[in-house]
């Protein structure tokens, strides 16, 4: 029953980083330490049956066991679709979706991130949105009687300046999985 599909590596208790779980809690992964390992999260996860090795319960356990490198360096933490099914059924108020965001934030700080993400910071800094709204779009809108939209970077350029600098500084190493593009396209 506990015959997990092969993860990328086997945990090594000799290399446990005892401060890691606290780091995850502080990064926004509250509730982490409430986990008693029942696996309700995994039972309701829509990703688990479709992505070999992905298992919320296992990830929580690895964090609690201080497996910093093993967790942050692995592509699996980027597979959460943020559907929140796990935390809805958790009897211990563990918010796995939030833990998952905290892990991604920490991975980014450590230099692991999918290659498409910094481009989104750039888009928001330039247009305030993921898609620029130009004349063409507003003409299409006007034909349907819809009011014009404006894309302005201004505020976001200043609010995201710190993040952009941090990402630039991290040298944006190539992501754990290659970005296949497509998401922002059509």
């Amino acid at each position: 029953m506990s015959d997990h599909p092969k993860g990328p590596a086997v945990l090594d208790l000799d290399r446990a980083d005892l401060g890691f779980s606290q780091e995850v809690v502080e990064a926004g992964g509250g509730g982490l330490r409430n986990c008693y390992g029942c696996g309700a999260c995994s039972a309701f996860c829509p990703i688990l049956p479709k992505a070999e090795g992905y298992d919320p319960r296992r990830l929580i356990r690895l964090v609690l066991l201080g497996q910093r490198e093993l967790v942050l360096g692995q592509p699996l933490i980027w597979l959460c679709s943020t559907c929140y099914s796990c935390q809805e059924v958790c009897p211990q108020q563990v918010s796995f979706t939030e833990i998952s965001f905290a892990l991604k934030n920490l991975a980014v700080e450590a230099g692991f991130l999918p290659s498409g993400l910094p481009a989104q910071v750039d888009l928001l800094s330039r247009f305030g949105r993921l898609y620029e709204v130009g004349e063409f779009e507003n003409e299409k809108r006007a034909k349907l009687g819809l009011p014009p939209q404006e894309s302005q970077g201004g505020d976001y350029r200043s609010l995201l300046a710190g993040l952009a600098a941090r990402l630039g500084g991290a040298g944006s190493r190539p992501g754990p999985r290659e970005d296949k593009g497509g998401g922002g396209g059509s």
């Binding site: 990064a27 926004g28 829509p46 990703i47 479709k50 992505a51 980027w78 597979l79 959460c80 679709s81 943020t82 559907c83 929140y84 099914s85 935390q87 809805e88 918010s95 979706t97 965001f101 905290a102 991604k104 934030n105 980014v108 991130l113 999918p114 498409g116 993400l117 989104q120 910071v121 928001l124 305030g128 949105r129 993921l130 898609y131 779009e137 299409k140 809108r141 349907l144 009687g145 819809l146 009011p147 014009p148 939209q149 404006e150 302005q152 201004g154 505020d155 976001y156 200043s158 609010l159 995201l160 993040l163 990402l167 992501g175 999985r177 970005d179 296949k180 497509g182 998401g183 059509s186």
Partner: protein
């Protein structure tokens, strides 16, 4: 009745049919949607990089809504979730609010607690109410059946969404479909994740999730699937061809935005509701309600 209309990134560029139909329905119901041209991205795309930066962007939009003295109404479930969560966090955590406001000060804004964020559909159900909705129906969509697709962030996290609908066995979209006179078709997969959050980085995985949803809807024998989120639309409508190709399927499930169906039942014509922009058509439905053209 007035609310600030928060458009988000995707809807005003890619889902004009959704926006058009929602504005018509709002007008019919006496709900004034107030435009605020300074609204920009909700912050959701930044959350993987930095939770607090995402929250700060959300805080900016909430502060703009506060400036209008209005609650926010949005057509995107991801925006609704992100903004509602930000309001929830900022209202409860004074230290965090202080930090975010420190940054917003630089752009001349301040978040004041108490801002409420609604998905448009939730607003219809809770604020407009069933009585007024029922009274607005002029011609029932008899004989048609649609699968309700709730997606995720319309309902969850339920703590943030105040459990306005049951996150495991939701009913609001079923009831709205039934309100139009059509049948709400069960395909056993509600609420159901479309995988949209992974499209940018893990397209194949995202496609697998939507394929399950579409297969179930087709097997259930519905006239289409009714949804309420631009990401669900990108996946279930926009990716349907690719899903067919990569998984060797032959799916053809018409996809509608729920307000288009509400609008039809409220007497608007298909062209007034942007049905031409739906990519996977249901001719029967359009022909049954097209007047003259």
């Amino acid at each position: 009745m007035r609310a600030a209309f928060y458009p988000g990134c995707t809807v005003p560029v890619r889902n004009l049919n959704y926006e058009l139909a929602s504005r018509r329905v709002a007008e019919k119901l006496g709900l004034e949607l107030v435009d605020e041209p300074r609204f920009q991205c909700c912050g959701f795309p930044m959350k993987s990089l930095s939770i607090e930066d995402a929250l700060t962007l959300a805080g900016r939009n909430l502060a703009l809504g506060g400036g209008l003295g209005l609650d926010l109404v949005t057509l995107c479930s991801a925006c609704a979730g992100t903004l509602a969560e930000a309001a929830h966090e900022l209202d409860r955590n004074e230290e965090l609010r202080e930090r975010v406001n420190q940054r917003l000060k630089g752009i001349g804004l301040k978040y004041e607690p108490g801002r409420k964020v609604f998905h448009f559909v939730r607003y219809l159900v809770e604020e407009v109410g069933w009585e007024r909705l029922e009274a607005a129906v002029e011609r029932p969509l008899k004989g048609f059946g649609f699968v309700p697709h709730y997606g995720c962030h319309y309902l969850k996290p339920s703590e943030v969404m105040e459990r306005f609908d049951d996150p495991q066995r939701p009913r609001t979209l079923h009831r709205l479909i039934e309100l139009t006179g059509a049948r709400a078709v069960e395909d056993g997969r509600a609420p159901g994740c479309c995988g949209g959050g992974l499209l940018g980085s893990e397209e194949e995985l995202a496609n697998l999730l939507s394929a399950d949803r579409l297969l179930a809807a087709e097997r259930a024998g519905a006239d289409g699937l009714a949804l309420i989120c631009p990401f669900c639309n990108v996946m279930l409508e926009g990716q349907q061809k690719k899903i067919n190709k990569s998984l060797e399927l032959d799916l053809r499930v018409p996809i509608f935005f729920l307000p288009q169906l509400l609008g039809l039942a409220m007497g608007f014509s298909p062209s007034e509701l942007g049905f031409k922009l739906n990519r996977i058509k249901n001719k029967e439905l359009v022909e049954a309600f097209e007047d003259g053209t």
